[in-house]
């Protein structure tokens, strides 16, 4: 036997040892890389994706909540995958993205405010598969005895930890050991969807803005703490001063010509308004876009329809109908409801309260005018609302009159609410023209919600109330007082998310 073959065996042994050592090093590196990759790319990614799923589920539910106002007949429909059980509505499970993230939500009404508007609670759950190696605790080794990732990112490898520990609804009811098909991360959020009331600002224009006049001003007060006082807005020591600085003007356009003084905030959408050019006492923010949806006639189911009168011609008086021998005062959710097909140019409408035993009752009335209210600048229809009457006027056409012809005896703007139903034909431009004329200073207390109408007011009336319109034009020294008590008045026009909480268990 040759000695050379023995030498060859030694070389082979050395080579194998070297390969072993290098492999051990490579294996160590690979384990470390896999560990980090598993956490960073799979588990962290799944944890974030689960929240995205939960928020997507929240968005889906929120869209349905908005439909309860904007498209009631299609809200929470079975066709969209919703099921109803009592007062709880449950969505079907939606699968999102290439990683099969799943989103589902439940919606229930947990509160109804003084106007009868429901507040919705949305509970949404997102589930994301935890890809990669089914291991955890890899980054729990900060120090001995401490835990890191496990406290933050709870991964269900075999069983759903939430259901087994807290129950499916998180209230401790129905706890059960539920196996999962594959490792997953679930996250849950709770959103509160609050009704948006129409009169949250003194003036809200979805289009352009011009006004109000060099000596005009917009300020505010709170009628629940006392009558309006013109001196408060300039007196910081007055306890009512804070309420005088909410005469906010919101403009969803860059086209804004601001004149006069604004004792509140000014918002535009891309405008260039600065403190140097106007007298704005609050915040100027030129980056506040908003959406004004068209207004549709609300559902009158539950309202007390009264067949007469059907038109306003000359002097027309509405007295409450009699029920069981007593005049019916109605309620915010069930007003006395009148359908009027015309409102004459010289028509004078007076709405009286229900009086029982010589005591006027808080009376709720809704009037739907399916035509114009006034048709020319010379027309002077009037609307008179005595104290204790809460009148809502819905109209399909235009509205033209003198500012002083709107008489609200109580002085509380929330008692006289005008709603302009948006035209269904886009080319039709709705208008509201209130002309004081001749510098008259007589004004009114009322609110207008007319998102599709151009609003024009001339002269220098003294106005208590709020306006939501498309384009706003005022050419006069208007004194506009926004009543902060209006911020929870009126029919809700939309919903917004008012609260966001994550259930971090």
């Amino acid at each position: 036997m040759s000695k050379l073959s023995k030498q060859g065996g030694n070389v082979l042994l050395c080579a194998l040892c070297t390969i072993l050592i290098v492999s051990a090093i490579a294996g160590t590196v690979l384990i470390n890389c896999t560990t980090r990759y598993n956490v960073a790319s799979s588990q962290v990614q799944s944890w974030k994706a689960a929240l995205m799923g939960a928020e997507a589920g929240g968005d889906i539910a929120y869209a349905e909540v908005r439909k309860t106002i904007l498209d009631p007949s299609n809200a929470f429909s079975a066709g969209a995958g919703w099921t109803n059980s009592g007062t709880v509505r449950t969505s079907s499970v939606a699968t999102l993205g290439s990683n099969n993230v799943k989103a589902s939500s439940t919606v229930d009404v947990f509160y109804s405010d003084s106007s009868g508007s429901p507040w919705y609670r949305i509970r949404s759950k997102g589930v994301s598969p935890a890809l990669g190696v089914a291991r955890t605790g890899m980054d729990d080794r900060m120090i001995t005895g401490a835990r890191g990732d496990s406290l933050l990112r709870k991964i269900d490898f075999y069983y759903d930890h939430f259901i087994s520990t807290y129950g499916p609804n998180g209230d401790g009811v129905g706890k059960a050991l539920v196996a999962v098909n594959q490792p997953q991360v679930s996250r849950r959020i709770e959103l509160i969807s609050a009704p948006v009331t129409p009169f949250e600002a003194a003036i809200k224009a979805g289009g352009t803005f011009y006004g109000l006049g060099s000596a005009a001003f917009v300020d505010s007060f709170r009628s629940t703490t006392g009558a309006y006082d013109v001196t408060v807005k300039d007196n910081p020591s007055d306890p009512r001063y804070a309420d005088s600085q909410a005469g906010t003007v919101e403009i969803n356009s860059a086209v804004a010509t601001i004149m006069g003084s604004i004792y509140g905030n000014l918002y535009t959408n891309g405008g260039t308004v600065t403190k140097n050019t106007t007298s704005v006492y609050g915040i100027i923010d030129n980056n506040v876009p908003f959406d004004l949806s068209g207004f549709v006639m609300p559902d009158v189911t539950g309202w007390n329809y009264v067949p007469s009168p059907t038109a306003v011609t000359g002097n027309t008086t509405i007295d409450p109908p009699t029920t069981n021998g007593f005049p019916r005062a109605g309620s915010p959710v069930s007003p006395n409801y009148y359908l009027l097909t015309s409102f004459a140019n010289n028509g004078n409408l007076t709405v009286n309260p229900a009086v029982i035993n010589n005591v006027p009752q808080e009376t709720y009335v809704a009037v739907h005018v399916t035509d114009n209210i006034g048709t020319s600048t010379s027309s002077q229809p009037s609307i008179i609302v005595p104290a204790h009457v809460h009148l809502q006027v819905y109209f399909d056409g235009n509205f033209q009159t003198k500012a002083q012809n709107i008489v609200n005896t109580s002085g509380y703007a929330g008692n006289l609410q005008f709603y302009a139903i948006s035209p269904t034909v886009p080319s039709v431009q709705q208008t509201i023209n209130l002309n004081s004329g001749g510098g008259a200073t007589a004004g009114f207390s009322a609110v207008f919600y007319s998102p599709a109408a151009n609003f024009t007011i001339n002269g220098g009336p003294d106005i208590t109330g709020a306006i939501v319109c498309k384009n706003f034009y005022a050419n006069g020294n208007v004194h506009w007082h926004y009543d902060r008590a209006l911020d929870n008045q009126g029919d809700p026009v939309d919903y917004r998310i008012a609260s966001y909480v994550e259930d971090i268990r």
Partner: protein, 208 residues
């Protein structure tokens, strides 16, 4: 007996031995140096990755709390953050828990209140406070007095959070840096190279 004459063999000359020894020494030194360098590199990389995971964890903790926060304030040195969040869950000692201990750990039903800035959603009569702070080498998260160590590292992890309040929104910008083991002398640059950046908006910001 006949002695067999051994075949003549040549040994190594002194020169050959010296060259072989020297070469072997160089090779061994190279192997030793490489091994130590490899070990150091491996250690540094592992440390870098581990610290990076802690960076991510700090950011994720903070973002989760800021999103559900009602109020966020940062300290002057930007290294301490105080977040007020809704008290979503009933805790031991809360009025509801005292009245009915079985409610501990269950979610509250929200209530609505009227405030000067409008209607407001509340979970219980009080809120919870979360504080992020640095203690030695550790980053701590303290919620209503309960301390959790969020991260701990000898690499001088430094989180910095700026709270930005605008007219209609509020957000926090957070950076987390650390000093890696391997440095080339310019420590500031080395630290800057590890920066992890994050922005999180308050979902519960209320406009006044």
């Amino acid at each position: 007996m006949r002695f067999t004459r051994l075949r003549k063999r040549h040994g190594f000359t002194l020169t050959e031995l010296m060259i072989a020894t020297g070469t072997g020494g160089f090779v061994l030194a190279a192997i030793m140096t490489s091994s130590i360098a490899l070990q150091k590199t491996l250690n540094a990389i592992e440390n870098y990755f581990a610290t990076q995971m802690q960076q991510i964890r700090i950011i994720d903790y903070l973002n989760r709390d800021v999103k559900r926060g009602l109020i966020v304030t940062t300290s002057v040195d930007l290294q301490s953050v105080t977040i007020t969040v809704p008290s979503y869950l009933i805790q031991a000692g809360d009025p509801e828990a005292i009245a009915n201990p079985s409610l501990v750990g269950t979610p509250r039903t929200p209530t609505i209140s009227n405030t000067l800035s409008g209607r407001q959603v509340n979970y219980g009569s009080s809120t919870s406070t979360i504080v992020y702070s640095i203690s030695g080498q550790s980053i701590l998260r303290t919620e209503n007095g309960t301390v959790t160590m969020v991260a701990s590292s000898t690499d001088q992890l430094v989180p910095q959070t700026t709270d930005v309040e605008l007219a209609n929104t509020e957000y926090t910008s957070t950076t987390v840096t650390f000093l890696p083991i391997f440095t080339s002398g310019n420590l500031a640059t080395e630290r800057k190279g590890t920066t992890l950046f994050s922005t999180s908006y308050l979902r519960n910001k209320r406009r006044g």
